[in-house]
């Protein structure tokens, strides 16, 4: 007979094996145990003791208010002193983390997505560096991090992380994060579309100690400065983040002085637990159902292709599950993939922005929500895949989350926000870089990215160019101030792009035109990084439409500064006038998708884009005719399109509405719909295909079969669980092949053989 198993010895052995493996690990790579988990850590014994001891909610609230004020103070410091454009317009956050590393209190403004990201590097530090004799975690230490594989959106975002001690004991952490921009990638500005491997994406900092005794280590700093295009900015912002963290530490120490560490710990734990309880309660109020949606990504930023971002959200009891199965597999040599934390961060952001903005900005608000993603997909890529343009997949990920939640929220009696159509989700702005008029090397982007058009709401239109989906309270900056630093002008800016609204009973908030031209530098260029030039990347809601598509237009072989000087009447202030009238003789006018790789510009050449419109809400035939007229008066829509979309009858000269005629016209339209619409089955028979389009590369599942994903052609179907690598051909090679084929055909026809036929 076998001896009974000695459980104590087994445990001891396992402990030894774990210790051995830990000590002999040759590479502390990204840790899935940390990276794949967004939940608040379980209560520690100490936290348990503190929570039981400190039950006075007034005391807890008073501590929390002081900590919240400290976070706002830190935020303000970074915003005022930060050198990166991102800091100036609020692409930052400061926060206080529990001893276990969970963000408990974050600044109310700024980029809220960071609030569900920075716990990953902190947990990495806790797990690996505290007991590591060559590193250690002491009072006055500071750690830096930016590598998305260790928990981040992308590696333009740098965090400074400080432990806070009380009488030698670690009580919590503080951190400050800024979208810095430059990071030494193959293109300036920190978000290279051209990256084909993670090694093209510039500086990748796993969490490491860069501050000792509250001072930045000069040797490491010099190395980091040499790794980026903006060495001064790198130093300035490391200092600013450090000082913001030190201020937070000071405020926490003031609390510790009065209340003691147990009360502080009780406050942090109670806050997280009560937010999680409240989230579960709120979820329980939602109807039990599954909502399905998807959006189209029409580009990899290098070439146009159809990529699916797919979502099914299931609510059951107090569980809420976001399932992204069926989304496109990862593209092995394109930068649009995301690491899982970035996607989760954007889903969390959709709740903090538009569902429960009243809850504290922290990790607890998202902790109870579950996320399912297919491995090696654009929404959860492998560590080997580039992800510097993860914004493409996480912004569309945000949109499907926003679109699906709206369908849950409508029926709920207790709401915390208006139900709204999807926000515009792409950063239609110019990323720029080169040598400026002062001889300095720069790489960053126009803060206009923060002016995304708002989605229409259940009782009113969307706001124009209001806020980005990743920060409700970010600014678009002062262009005139920027122009002191950069050698280009925005010749047209903040002018709404006419006839680009997403129609509905309430229309989406619109975007504005940006026309830029380089002036004072021979070494300056632009890039743009958005999908949505062929198909909109959003949806409308409840009968409202999405926006249209937004391309890039260019005018080359012209110096508009000469035109403005000599023939100013020729310059026009809108994209349609310039492109349709072609007022500059000899110039070349062209259109492109919005994945413009870094493009050196000559003085006076025009780069022209429009920011996008948020989605529309409700049936356009129900739009109040007065709102239609108001949009005409505000040059948002032309009278012909106002009639075509909204079927309002009015006098074109006086804009007086004919109410009777409008009603009759709209009734006619409803009748017309009934005549043109097909019963569902007939429609499916006529239009639905068993496979994706044949002539366009398609990536993702088809017709709801999420076990199989297409990988670019009809005969390339893969197992969604293990799709394997997918390499796309360089667009220039594609073009060369096309031209070679043409050349061969021409030669054959003309009977000319190539000069050199040797292989």
């Amino acid at each position: 007979m076998n001896k009974p198993i000695d459980l104590e010895n087994v445990a001891k052995d396992q402990e030894l094996i774990k210790k051995f493996l830990h000590e002999t690990t040759l590479f502390l790579g990204p840790d899935p145990e940390i990276i794949r988990d967004h939940k608040i850590m379980p209560r520690t014994e100490y936290e348990e003791k503190c929570v039981n001891e400190y039950t006075d909610l007034n005391q807890i609230a008073s501590i929390r208010d002081r900590l919240q004020a400290a976070c706002e103070e830190g935020f303000e410091m970074v915003e005022q002193m930060g050198a990166a454009p991102g800091a100036k317009w609020g692409d930052i956050i400061t926060g206080i983390y529990s001893a276990s590393g969970d963000l408990t209190i974050g600044s109310a403004g700024g980029v809220l997505i960071f609030s569900v990201l920075v716990h990953h590097p902190i947990k990495f530090i806790i797990k690996n560096w505290i007991d590591e004799k060559t590193v250690g975690v002491k009072e006055g230490d500071g750690f830096i991090h930016n590598d998305s594989r260790y928990g981040n959106v992308h590696n333009t975002d740098q965090s400074m992380i400080l432990p806070v001690f009380h009488e030698g004991k670690l009580v919590c952490w503080v951190a400050s994060t800024v979208h810095e921009g430059e990071n030494g990638a193959i293109e300036p500005g920190g978000m290279p579309s051209m990256a084909e491997t993670p090694f093209d994406e510039g500086l990748k900092m796993s969490p490491f100690k860069v501050v000792e005794n509250y001072e930045i280590k000069r040797d490491l700093l010099t190395f980091l400065q040499n790794s980026v295009r903006e060495p001064k900015l790198q130093y300035e912002d490391m200092k600013v983040k450090l000082f913001a963290c030190m201020r937070l530490e000071k405020r926490i120490k003031e609390v510790l002085e009065i209340e003691g560490p147990d009360a502080l710990t009780a406050c942090l734990r109670y806050t997280n637990d009560s937010v999680m309880d409240e989230v579960r309660r709120r979820i329980s109020e939602w109807p039990d159902m599954t909502v399905r949606t998807h959006v189209i990504m029409d580009s990899t930023l290098r070439e146009n292709a159809l990529l699916k971002v797919n979502l099914a959200v299931t609510k059951k009891g107090d569980r809420l599950i976001f399932d992204f199965s069926g989304s496109s597999p990862e593209i092995t040599n394109r930068a649009i993939n995301t690491q899982l934390p970035g996607l989760k961060g954007m889903v969390a952001q959709s709740f903090m922005n538009h569902v429960w903005p009243d809850l504290p900005r922290g990790q607890a608000g998202f902790s109870p929500i579950e996320v399912i993603t297919p491995n090696s997909s654009i929404v959860d890529c492998s560590y080997a895949a580039p992800n510097s343009q993860s914004l493409m997949s996480i912004f569309t990920g945000f949109t499907v989350a926003q679109h699906a939640t709206a369908k849950f929220l409508y029926s709920i009696p207790e709401k915390y926000t208006r139900v709204l159509a999807p926000w515009y989700n792409m950063i239609n702005t110019f990323i720029w870089g080169g040598v400026n008029q002062h001889g300095e090397t720069l790489g960053n982007l126009c803060a206009d990215l923060n002016g995304m058009g708002g989605g229409a709401r259940m009782d009113r239109d969307g706001e124009h160019a209001l806020a980005p989906i990743f920060a409700t309270m970010a600014d678009i900056g002062e262009q005139e101030m920027n122009e002191e630093e950069v050698p280009f002008l925005q010749l047209v800016s903040k002018k709404m792009t006419i006839n680009t609204q997403a129609p509905g009973k309430f229309r989406g908030g619109m975007g504005y035109t940006m026309i830029v031209a380089t002036k004072d530098s021979d070494q300056w260029g632009f890039m743009t990084s958005c999908v949505g030039s062929k198909a909109p990347p959003i949806q409308g809601l409840f009968g409202g439409y999405a926006c249209g598509s937004f391309p890039l237009s260019k005018v080359t072989d012209v110096d508009v500064y000469d035109v403005l000087l000599n023939e100013p009447e020729k310059f026009k202030h809108s994209i349609p006038e310039i492109m349709n009238e072609q007022p500059f003789e000899g110039a070349d006018y062209s259109t492109h998708h919005m994945g413009l790789g870094f493009d050196l510009s000559k003085r006076g050449e025009l780069f022209m884009i429009s920011r996008g419109s948020g989605g529309g809400y409700g049936d356009p035939l129900e739009r109040d005719p007065h709102l239609v007229i108001q949009d005409i008066e505000e040059s948002l829509i032309t009278p012909d399109w106002a009639k075509k979309l909204y079927h309002v009858i009015f006098n074109e000269e006086t804009l007086k509405i004919d109410k009777e005629a409008t009603k009759a016209e709209r009734d006619t339209m409803r009748t017309q719909r009934k005549a043109q619409g097909l019963p569902y089955d007939e429609f499916v028979k006529k239009y639905v295909k068993p496979h994706p389009p044949e002539n366009i590369p398609f990536y993702g599942s088809w017709n709801g079969d999420n076990d199989v994903v297409y990988a670019g052609s009809l005969d390339d179907k893969r197992d969604a669980k293990n799709p394997g690598p997918i390499y796309m051909t360089h667009p220039k090679d594609v073009r060369i092949s096309e031209l070679e084929a043409e050349l061969t055909a021409v030669r054959d026809e003309a009977g000319i053989s190539p000069k050199d036929t040797r292989k």
């Binding site: 399905r292 006839n499 569902y680 239009y687 389009p693």
Partner: protein, 133 residues
């Protein structure tokens, strides 16, 4: 009791049917896909999104490319209200977008008062004299 599910759809918990909120038309079983009871139209994107630059001169015009996206419009067969619009991949099946657990919905609303208009949530007021909690 009836539950307002969207701007134009409600579920009658007693008959277990989807209904049109505009004309009271009975659309279909609340346990099924309401879209199956609606009329569907494949809308040309050019009808909704103007080419603000000349499509004869340029490849990209601000109008979505109909080879790359389809717009499905769903109408109430009785009153012609446009209840839903879906932007989708050309030839893709319409999504079963709201698959409701009707039994759970009944349970949930057995503890609630019926609403004839949806609640909207707190208002954001420009007037700074007001303070909201």
């Amino acid at each position: 009791m009836k539950v307002l599910m969207t701007e134009y759809l409600r579920i009658d918990l007693d008959s277990e049917k989807w209904e049109c909120r505009v004309c009271d038309h009975e659309i279909g079983s609340a346990r099924g896909n309401y879209k199956e009871g609606l009329l569907v139209y494949n809308r040309d994107p050019a009808d909704i999104h103007p080419s603000i630059i000349d499509p004869d001169k340029y490849r990209f015009t601000f109008c979505p490319d109909k080879e790359w996206v389809n717009i499905y419009e769903f109408y109430c067969p009785s009153c012609g209200t446009q209840m839903e619009v879906e932007y989708t991949f050309p030839g893709h099946e319409p999504l079963f977008d709201m698959q409701v657990d009707v039994d759970a919905l009944k349970e949930q609303w057995s503890h609630r008062e019926e609403l004839t208009e949806p609640t909207t949530g707190p208002n954001v007021l420009v007037d700074r004299g007001h303070h909201h909690h």
